[in-house]
């Protein structure tokens, strides 16, 4: 591999890059390299420049600009010079131009050493004075980071990533569009204000209002603590294991209740200095009797009592009385006939919004009839009745239909409900919804055509503002994921990775949590039920918060920028209708899941970044840093956050990684070396935890770096803006779709099944479409295959377009449809997707990429990728590597605070091949990544074609993560994985197998 060949420093840099880059797949390669170089040291600079010179003149330079929606942005002038300028200018010069980006610039600098900064400044007279000023603090941080690194290596990298991203973006002047102030972690995290503060370890006290109305305080690290840290603390305090139904809320600057994202830093989310939270039910289990523990039901009861008492969960007089009577039974036990004045006592309790004497009498009367019922039974009865209420678990959002009529949108386990006043006027079950998206303050759902209809239709709603639209969208995404999927969507999907974790559900799904709950093995914890007097708690479930504007400013500004940008982009859209449509359909295909606009590219996928940047790097990392690969792998798969936390939180995972690398060269078949190492096996025995077996077929893509396919992706990501995002509920769900029985027409079911099958056979395409990048110049014949595919794809796309266009006419006859968007449909559909992409220039360049990308998604074609799920692995996946991994520990053994994780990585490879690959960079022809996910396996396949001195080389890197209980036969799984890899690509040789196994060693004594 190239990396190996390179000097040590380079390698390191690259490694860093790769780690850093994942999110940023789209960014231009050259820049990233530069960054790395800078870090490496001064000597590198020279090299860098050289490299830049080579690369820079090429496509790399423009591509970024092209792909990014520059149009929408302001700086045409800047760009022009940049592109034109000869190599001499050096990357650094380019980087700094964007003045607006002070914050970003700083970040970049942070990452780099002082020297680099100096260099920049020197090279770039243009850069603002601000930038330099900011730089200093940044440096300091850097240092600190370094020190802190070991414990939280991943985090650092994340920061670094952000910085890099920023850097890359800046040159293009896209910064605003992409970064979207609020969204990107890094920008906020490292905003100048904060940089100045030096005490990183500052601790802050969080106040969490519990369901009982009491306050729980907890100290967290101000800057770095993530939502999950606090959440876990709270759960620990509550002795709650089935925590996936719950969450923490905070109030944003607009006093609206928001869910705290467990995977993100708290500081970044609250955007104020108000560390007030409330613990509450996030997902109301449709069947509470299926909860495993009484304590969980109790907490659910508390939430519901509050919901009922506040009127949020409306019920009739009789129901109020009935529920109240169960509450009494649970809290007081049997009715005491001797009690002097029971009514007086009862009237002190709050059962209903309009409680009166009559109701209290009824409650008392019913209470008498519950004699003998235990508190747990009473709770269960309470829940059995509450769950039948029509508004149980329905999260209401104010909206307007197309005609401006006030309606309410209710998100629940079954789908989306539309209410006008109290009446349900429409309902869209999850299986009926093809896509959920929002743009600015518009919220759209695309509806699967009915049996008699040919075309999809899109229904649009207006929300109060873009924040509410986004909030609604997120709630939809999360509810769909939780209730309809067996597992969260594959994280690897390039698309939503760019979105940032913020935009996808990262926790366990209901299916997973049920499974995990079934493993709970502890004596029922004893807990005390408090009296209903508590209900004085604020109705919203969140404490009243005084909002300080302190930290919010930057974020706000960022947003404003975005807004403006958006409106610009909209114009673009209009002018380029055709293009947009085309792209829209493409992008639709591409993004099987949710995409959020430009939000926070930094956080989520390192995997992606790595891939895009340079696979070589990845490899290196695996070789040299044993522990790192694991983390990365994990992040790649699903849990970006998980990766970051391992050091801190207990890691319960047993993870096995098998990396199988296949390299085939068209002209000369390479030697195959397959080595697999089962070494890690022992740890598995320790606990029945989860194991991950990762089988990776790696393609050596050293060249990729040079060519930097990244750009294309960037374009796509650019297209997303803060204010819009989409989510395709059905696509991803492949396996799990039908989990919740729902009435659907048989046809629908059939369709679904078909889909599922397709998906099963063809990897769900989390693909990094962008990667495919491939400058138009360099099309080679070897790609014929791919080309043909592309064409096919295009055809599909066109169809899609038509459908979309016609969707407007599709209007259902049901008069009630809140808003069938006849005319809007096209816009609504298109806009969300491509608005960003909207450059005409892009049109020229992108189609290819898109085509491929879409290919990946839609296309089951076997040749492209094979994602095999080793049959061996039939274990249930308790957890998909994600933020909640830590939970497992708690579930399995509540009492074990410390869990040691053992990690082993063994790599075998055919040295010669590697050497070859390293020797010449070659030209990247194509690259694509596909990810498929089943219950217990996640397969990520990255295929790269490169052209080296007339020879085309295809590398397939396959990474399979198997998560499951210890009863998996690791050796067999490994053998199977290798075997399958060989079978799938008989003409290829396996050059490398890396087995990475992570096992948790739980030490009970601790």
């Amino acid at each position: 591999m190239t990396t190996e060949a390179g000097s040590e420093t380079e390698v390191k840099e690259k490694a860093e890059e790769s780690a850093a880059q994942p999110d940023q797949s789209e960014t231009a390669k050259p820049e990233s390299q530069e960054v790395a170089n800078v870090e490496g040291g001064e000597k590198e600079k020279g090299k860098e420049k050289e490299k830049e010179g080579k690369e820079g003149k090429g496509i790399t330079r423009y591509l970024p600009t092209w792909f990014k929606k520059q149009k929408s942005q302001t700086s045409p002038t800047k760009e022009v010079p940049a592109t034109e300028e000869p190599v001499s200018k050096g990357v650094e010069g380019e980087e700094e131009p964007a003045p607006e980006v002070n914050g970003h610039a700083e970040e970049v600098e942070e990452k780099e050493e002082v020297k680099s900064e100096e260099v920049k400044e020197a090279t770039q007279p243009e850069s603002d004075s601000n930038a330099s000023a900011d730089t200093e603090p940044a440096k300091e941080e850097k240092v600190e980071d370094a020190t802190a690194k070991s414990p939280e290596k991943t985090k650092d990298t994340a920061v670094g990533e952000g910085a890099e991203e920023e850097k890359k973006k800046e040159p293009e002047g896209h910064v605003e569009a992409e970064t979207d102030g609020g969204e990107s972690q890094t920008s906020i995290f490292q905003s100048p204000l904060r940089l100045v503060r030096k005490n990183k370890m500052k601790v802050v006290v969080c106040h969490v209002t519990l369901l009982e109305g009491t306050d729980f305080t907890c100290e967290v690290e101000q800057k770095r603590a993530k939502g999950q840290y606090l959440f876990f603390k709270v759960c620990e305090h509550l002795n709650l294991l089935e925590k996936d139904y719950f969450g923490l809320t905070y109030k944003d600057n607009h006093d609206e209740k928001c869910w705290l994202d467990p995977t993100k830093e708290i500081k970044r989310q609250i955007r104020s200095n108000n560390w007030q939270f409330a613990f509450g039910v996030k997902f109301y289990p449709p069947d509470p009797s299926q909860l495993t523990e009484d304590i969980t039901r109790y907490l659910l009861c508390l939430q519901l009592r509050e919901d009922v008492a506040s009127g949020r969960l409306p019920c009739s007089f009789v129901t109020h009385a009935l529920l109240g009577s169960y509450t009494l039974q649970a809290e007081l036990g049997d009715h005491e006939p001797d009690q002097p004045r029971p009514l007086d006592f009862i009237s002190q309790l709050t059962f209903a919004p309009n409680q009166n004497k009559e109701m209290e009498e009824k409650i008392l009367e019913l209470h008498k009839s519950h004699r003998g019922m235990t508190p747990a039974q009473a709770d269960l009865q309470f829940l059995e009745n509450a769950k039948k209420l029509s508004m149980y678990g329905v999260d209401l959002h104010h909206a307007k239909d197309s005609e401006g009529v006030d309606i309410m949108l209710g998100v629940c386990a079954n789908g989306l409900l539309v209410y006008k006043d109290r009446l349900r006027i429409n309902r869209f079950a999850w299986p009926k919804i093809l896509k959920i998206s929002y743009k600015r303050n518009n919220f759209y759902i695309k509806i699967r055509p009915g049996e008699t209809e040919q075309f999809e239709s899109t229904v649009g709603f207006k929300l109060q503002n873009h924040r509410s639209a986004k909030r609604l969208w997120k709630v939809c995404v999360e509810n769909h994921s939780f209730f309809r999927l067996n597992a969260p969507e594959p994280p690897t999907k390039a698309r939503f990775l760019t979105l940032g974790s913020k935009f996808r559900y990262s926790g366990r799904t209901q299916a997973q949590t049920r499974l995990a709950s079934s493993l709970i093995d502890r004596p029922a914890p004893s807990f005390e039920r408090t009296s209903s007097k508590r209900i004085s708690r604020s109705l919203d479930g969140a404490p009243v918060i005084s909002i300080t504007e302190a930290g919010s400013e930057t974020a706000e500004n960022g947003r404003d920028h975005r807004l403006e940008l958006h409106s610009d982009s909209k114009d673009l859209d209009k002018t380029q209708d055709e293009v947009l449509k085309h792209q829209a359909s493409i992008s639709q295909l591409k993004r099987s899941f949710m995409e959020a606009p430009p939000p926070s590219p930094p956080q989520p996928n390192q995997w992606e970044k790595r891939l895009t940047s340079s696979p070589a790097t990845i490899r290196v990392q695996q070789h040299q840093v044993v522990s790192v690969p694991q983390t990365e792998a994990a992040s790649a798969d699903n849990a970006s956050s998980e990766t970051k936390e391992p050091a801190k939180t207990t890691e319960v995972e047993i993870e096995e990684t098998v990396v199988i690398q296949e390299v085939s060269r068209a002209p000369k078949p390479g030697v195959v070396t397959v080595t697999a190492d089962p070494t890690a096996a022992p740890p598995a025995e320790h606990e029945p935890q989860d194991q991950k077996v990762k089988v990776e077929e790696e393609a050596a893509l050293a060249e990729v770096e040079e060519v930097s396919p990244v750009k294309p992706e960037k374009a796509s990501s650019d297209s997303e803006s803060e204010e819009e995002a989409e989510y395709h509920p059905n696509v991803p769900a492949s396996i799990s779709q039908s989990q919740i029985p729902e009435e659907k027409e048989e046809e629908e079911q059939m369709k679904e099944e078909e889909e599922e099958q397709q998906q099963a056979s063809a990897p769900v395409v989390p693909s990094l479409p962008a990667e495919v990048s491939q400058p138009a110049e360099e099309t080679s014949q070897e790609e014929e295959e791919e080309e043909s595919k592309k064409e096919e794809m295009e055809v599909e796309e066109k169809k899609d377009d038509q459908e979309e266009k016609e969707s407007g006419r599709e209007t259902e006859d049901s008069t009630d449809d809140p808003m069938v968007t006849p005319e809007e449909a096209p816009e609504g559909l298109m806009v969300p997707e491509e608005s960003a992409e909207a450059g005409p220039t892009e049109d020229l360049e992108q189609p290819k990429m898109n085509g491929e990308a879409s290919l990946v998604e839609v296309d089951p074609r076997p040749q492209v990728i094979c994602c095999s799920e080793p049959p061996v692995v039939k274990t249930e996946m308790v957890t998909i590597s994600d933020t909640f991994a830590a939970q497992k520990t708690e579930i399995a053994t509540k009492e074990v605070p410390i869990v040691h994780t053992e990690t082993k990585t063994i790599t075998y490879e055919a040295a010669q091949l590697d050497g070859n690959s390293d020797g010449e960079p070659g030209v990247l022809m194509t690259a694509q990544t596909i990810t498929s996910e089943s219950l217990c396996t996640t397969t990520t396949t990255h295929i790269t074609k490169t052209l080296k001195g007339g020879l085309s080389e295809t590398r397939i890197e396959k990474r399979i993560v198997i998560t499951g209980d210890c009863d998996i036969d690791h050796d067999q799984a490994l053998a199977q994985a290798i075997k399958e890899a060989k079978e799938q690509h008989p003409d290829m040789s396996v050059t490398r197998v890396v087995v990475h196994k992570e096992t948790e060693l739980a030490e009970e004594e601790d």
Partner: protein, 282 residues
Amino acid sequence: MAGLMAGFGHYTHAVVRGIPASLAKEALRTSQAEVDLTRARTEHEAYVEVLRTRLGLGVVELPADESLPDCVFVEDAAVVCGETALITRPGAESRRRETEVMKEALKDLNLNIVEMTDENATLDGGDVLFTGREFFVGLSKRTNQRGAEILADAFKDYAVSTVPVLEGLHLKSFCSMGGPGLIIIGSSEPAQKALKIMQQMSDHRYDKLTVPDDIAANCVYMNLPNKGHVLLHCTAEEFPESVKVFEKLKDHMLIPVSNMEKVKVDGALTCCSVLISKNPNI
């Protein structure tokens, strides 16, 4: 004790009303058919007799009022669910006063009375389909959105979805419940369309029983102690094809009830009674 939404069809009482002589000439109707008053009365007596004697319900029989030609169709005057009775505001002006006596009768049965006082609201009970889990309210010539809203407010436990009624008088002119989770539906296009909407709007799954004749889809379902599922449906004389369909319901006690005269003034089987479930435990 019975929890929420338990015991669909467990009726204990029925409110019915006599047929005034004015029905023959003055009752509202969509067709021009002539009603034979005597036969209509005979028919109605048989109907009440089934409720009282054969099914053992406590029947409250209200006296006919000559000034209210349509008063026999008590269903439109009130919607009773559980302990709550919503006194409607019938869409037809001439029928508004039908609710007065009804209200008193329901009060006497110790139901919680909710009145529809909003002058912009209209609601005929014939447009209200209660499935045991939720309500569907037909938006028809007789029932408007506001009426439906008030109904939703009166029965807060349940989802209330609106269904446009494009043809026919009421929602229940072409459908009714045939059991828990079983909707009997006519085969006409409007009926099928309405069913589709109902299915789409619902979180619950319903089976359907399609009968060839729309009006035959209006049946009275009960679930009675010692009798199980009971279905009052049209006679073979009226709708032979539809009756064949009903006969496939093996678990139901099928009771054909003639409705040849009342149907001429758009009266269906459900129209002639308000069924009440008084839970002795609560």
